[in-house]
Symmetry: C2
Subunit: 417 residues, 2 copies
C-alpha cells in the first residue's frame, strides 16, 4: 500500500520548529546524536526494510525500470553501510567554531571570523532513501537543522528513516532538527523554495530537471549540484596508451555518476593513431559510440549530432569529436560543459597549463580520470554533493562547505569618528 500523498503539511510551523531546534545545535553533543542514529538504523532494521519493501513493491507493480528499483532498494548490507558512514562522520573534526581569520583594528577592536551553522538547510532529492540519512546527518554534524523532501516513490522508506533518526537524536538534540516534508504534493516544494528568512540554504540532489526546477524557482539561496557533462581531451602530444586507459576509466568505471566522461575530444594530429584502438577498447566494455564526421571517417560509429555534445548520458554511451586544436577543445568544453570535471591527456607542459587556466570547471585534470572529483577522494571524509556553481562552494562539498561564518567583534566602547 502506498502512503497517501495528499497530507496537509503546515510548512510555516515546520520551519519554525526547525529554526528553534537549530538554535542550540552548535553547542550540543552532535557526535553522540550521530552515533545514536547509526545504532538506531541497525536496531530498527526490520521496520525500515518493511517500509522500503512497500515502496519497492509499488514501483515494481508500476513497471519501473530495474536500475531505478535498485537505487530505491535497501538491504541489511546497505543499512550497515549507512550506519558505518554515519559513525565515520561522527569521527570527523567539527567544522564549527573554527577561527578562519582575525585581526586587531587600529582602534583596538578585536575581530574574529568564526565558522557558524547555516541554521536551516533544505534538501530536495530523488529516489535513493540513503540520501535521507546522508543529508540529515551531514546537516546535523554541521550544526544545522535539516528539512528533507525526498521523492514520492521513497516516501514510506523516508518516513520511517526520519522517525528512527528523530527518536535516536532526542536524547542529545531536539528531534525537530530532522524533519521530513511528509507529502508528495509539489506545492510544498514551492513553499520550501520560497521560504526566505525561514530556510537559509536549499541543496537539490537529483537529475537535471530537478536541479533546473529548483534553481529557476528558488528565492532562498541554492547550491546547484551534480550535473556533469564531463570531457576527456586527448592532445596531440598525448601518451596514447595512457589516454586510452583514462577515457575507458572515465567512461565505464561507473557510468551513472556525475563525474563520468560523456564526450571524448581528440586532437586531429593523433586521431588516426588513437581512435581505432581506443574506441575498440570502449566498445569491448559495452560502450555505444557516437562520432562526429571526422570520427566516422576513421572508425565505424553512429553519427553524433548537436544534442550529443550537450547530453549527460549517465550510461554506456560516449560522444566522440575530432578537434583542430587545443583552443578548439577548450572552446567546446566551455560551450557545452557543465563546469564539473574536465581532463586533458598531454605530455606538453604548456598545453596542460593553458587547459587548466582556460577551462572553466570545478576540477581540471591533467593526465588523470575525471572520476576523482569526490569529497571522499579529496579527503573531506564526507560529501553532500558536487557544486557546479561558482558561488560559495565549487566541486566536492564537504563539511567545511556546509557552514558559514560570522564576525565577532570585541571592543571597549569604540565609536566611529
Amino acid at each position: 500500500m502506498t502512503a497517501p500523498n495528499t497530507a496537509v503539511v503546515d510548512m510555516a510551523a515546520l520551519f519554525d520548529r526547525a529554526r528553534r531546534a537549530s538554535r542550540g545545535l552548535a553547542r550540543a553533543d552532535r557526535n553522540s546524536a550521530l552515533l545514536a542514529i547509526a545504532d538506531a538504523v541497525l536496531a530498527n532494521q526490520e521496520t525500515i526494510l518493511t517500509a522500503n519493501r512497500q515502496d519497492v513493491d509499488t514501483e515494481t507493480a508500476k513497471g519501473t525500470p530495474q536500475a531505478l528499483i535498485d537505487r530505491l532498494s535497501l538491504s541489511p548490507k546497505r543499512l550497515e553501510g549507512m550506519a558505518e558512514g554515519v559513525r565515520q562522520l561522527a569521527t570527523l573534526p567539527d567544522p564549527l567554531h573554527r577561527v578562519l581569520d582575525g585581526m586587531m583594528l587600529e582602534n583596538g577592536l578585536a575581530v574574529r571570523q568564526v565558522t557558524v551553522p547555516f541554521g536551516v538547510i533544505g534538501m530536495i532529492y530523488e529516489s535513493r532513501p540513503n540520501v535521507t540519512v546522508d543529508a540529515a546527518t551531514l546537516a546535523l554534524k554541521a550544526g544545522s537543522a535539516a528539512v528533507l523532501r525526498g521523492s514520492a516513490n521513497a516516501l514510506n522508506s523516508n518516513r520511517v528513516l526520519v522517525q528512527v533518526m528523530r527518536e535516536a537524536i532526542n536524547a542529545y538534540v531536539p528531534a525537530d532538527a530532522v524533519q521530513l516534508v511528509d507529502s508528495t504534493d509539489r506545492k510544498y516544494v514551492t513553499e520550501l523554495l520560497e521560504a526566505r528568512g525561514k530556510v537559509d540554504l536549499v541543496i537539490p540532489r537529483g537529475g537535471a530537471s530537478l536541479i533546473n526546477h529548483v534553481v529557476d524557482n528558488a528565492k532562498v539561496p541554492v547550491i546547484e549540484t551534480g550535473t556533469g557533462n564531463c570531457h576527456v581531451f586527448v592532445d596531440s602530444s598525448a601518451d596514447v596508451k595512457r589516454a586510452q586507459s583514462i577515457i575507458v576509466n572515465a567512461k565505464v568505471q561507473r557510468p551513472g555518476v556525475c563525474n563520468a566522461a560523456e564526450t571524448l575530444l581528440v586532437h586531429q594530429d593523433v586521431a588516426e593513431q588513437f581512435l581505432p584502438h581506443a574506441l575498440q577498447a570502449l566498445a569491448d566494455e559495452g560502450v555505444t559510440l557516437r562520432g562526429c564526421e571526422r570520427t566516422q571517417k576513421i572508425v565505424d560509429v553512429e553519427p553524433a549530432n548537436e544534442s550529443d555534445w550537450e547530453t549527460e548520458y549517465l550510461d554506456y554511451t560516449l560522444a566522440v569529436k575530432v578537434v583542430d586544436s587545443l583552443e578548439d577543445a577548450i572552446d567546446h568544453i566551455n560551450d557545452y560543459g557543465t563546469q564539473h570535471s574536465e581532463s586533458i591527456v598531454t605530455e606538453s607542459i604548456a598545453n596542460a597549463r593553458k587547459f587548466q587556466d582556460e577551462v572553466d570547471a570545478a576540477a581540471v585534470y591533467v593526465n588523470a580520470s575525471t572520476r576523482f572529483t569526490d569529497g571522499f577522494v579529496f579527503g573531506f571524509g564526507a560529501e553532500i554533493g558536487i557544486s557546479t556553481q561558482k558561488l560559495h562552494a565549487r566541486g566536492p562539498m564537504g563539511l567545511a562547505q556546509i557552514v558559514t561564518y560570522k564576525y565577532l567583534i570585541d571592543g571597549d566602547g569604540q565609536i566611529r569618528e
Copy 2:
C-alpha cells in the same frame, strides 16, 4: 534633455561579449587598466560633469528631494575621490592565483585549490553614479567582466563613465570587460537575472525593494546586500555612559547607511537609569524617538508600533524597546533583524558570549558601535557591499569575496579503481 530610455539592447550579444572579454582577464595587466581608468576619469572631468548635470537638472525639474539629488551629483572633488579610490584598488594584492589549499592524494594526484574569477558579474544598483566606477573596477581587479545596470535617473552619467572606462582600459584588456545596459527598460533587468550560464553572479545594491526584486526573480546566483535593521542592546550590567556614546554614534554618525542602528533595546533593570539621559542626548542630535509602552512610561516619546521594529529608517529616527532579559533581546533581534550588525553593551562576560553565540548576524559586537561593519574598516581595502545572506560571503565583501576557486589536479595516468 533626458536620454531616451527605450533603446533596444541585445542582451545575449552583450553577455557573449562579456564572456569573451572575461577569458583573458586573470592573466592581463589589470592594475594598469585600473590606473588608466583613474587618469581618464580626471582627464574627462568636463564631459562627465556635463552629462551628470543633465541628470541632475532632470531630477531637479521633477522636484526630486534634495537628499537624492545629492547622491546623484558629481563634482570635481567627488571625481578626484573616485580616481583616488581606483588608484588604491590597483595597489591591493591580487585576489587571483592564490592557492587556498592543496594536498597529495595517496594515488599521487597533486591537488591545488586556486582562486579564479567568477567570469561575468552583473551589478544592479540605484542612483549614485560612483557605484558605476566602483563596481566596474572591483570586478576588473577580481578578473571578471562587469555588466552594469544603474538607475534611470543616472543614465547620462553612467553612459559617459562607462565610455570613459572602456576607452581607458582598451590598451590593457578588452573594452567589453565593462559594459552598460544602456536602457532603462526593466525587461533587461529580467534578462540579466535569468541569464543562467551567461552571468555567473549578480550583486544588487540599493534599497529593500530593489534587493527583494532581484532575490525573488533571479535564476542566477545572487548575493543579497545591504539592508540593515541593526540593534544596540543595553544589558543590565552595561556601563551606561559607554552605552549612551555607542547608541548615539550608531544612530547619528551617518544615519543613511546600512550599519546604522535602527532600534535600541534596553534591559528593564537599567531602563529608568539609562533612558532619560540617553534619549535626551539622541533628541539633542535631532533624533525622533518611537518607544514601546514601557519606554513611554519613563520618557516622553512617540509610541512605537509593530512596523517600527521592522523598519530600516535610514534617517534620524530610532525605535526604543524595554525588554525583560537578554534572551528577549536576542529573540527580538533574531525575529526582526536583517542579520547585518548587532551590538550588546555589557560588563558581563557570560552575557557577551551568549549574545555573540546566539544572535544570528554577519557582525556581532560587544561594547562597540555597529558602524564598523565596513570593508575598509576591516582592512579589506575595498568593498563591493555588505552581504546579509549566509551563502558565499557574510558581512563586508572585499576582493577575496569577489572571486571563486577551482581545483587543479595533476596526475601521471591515474585511474579510479
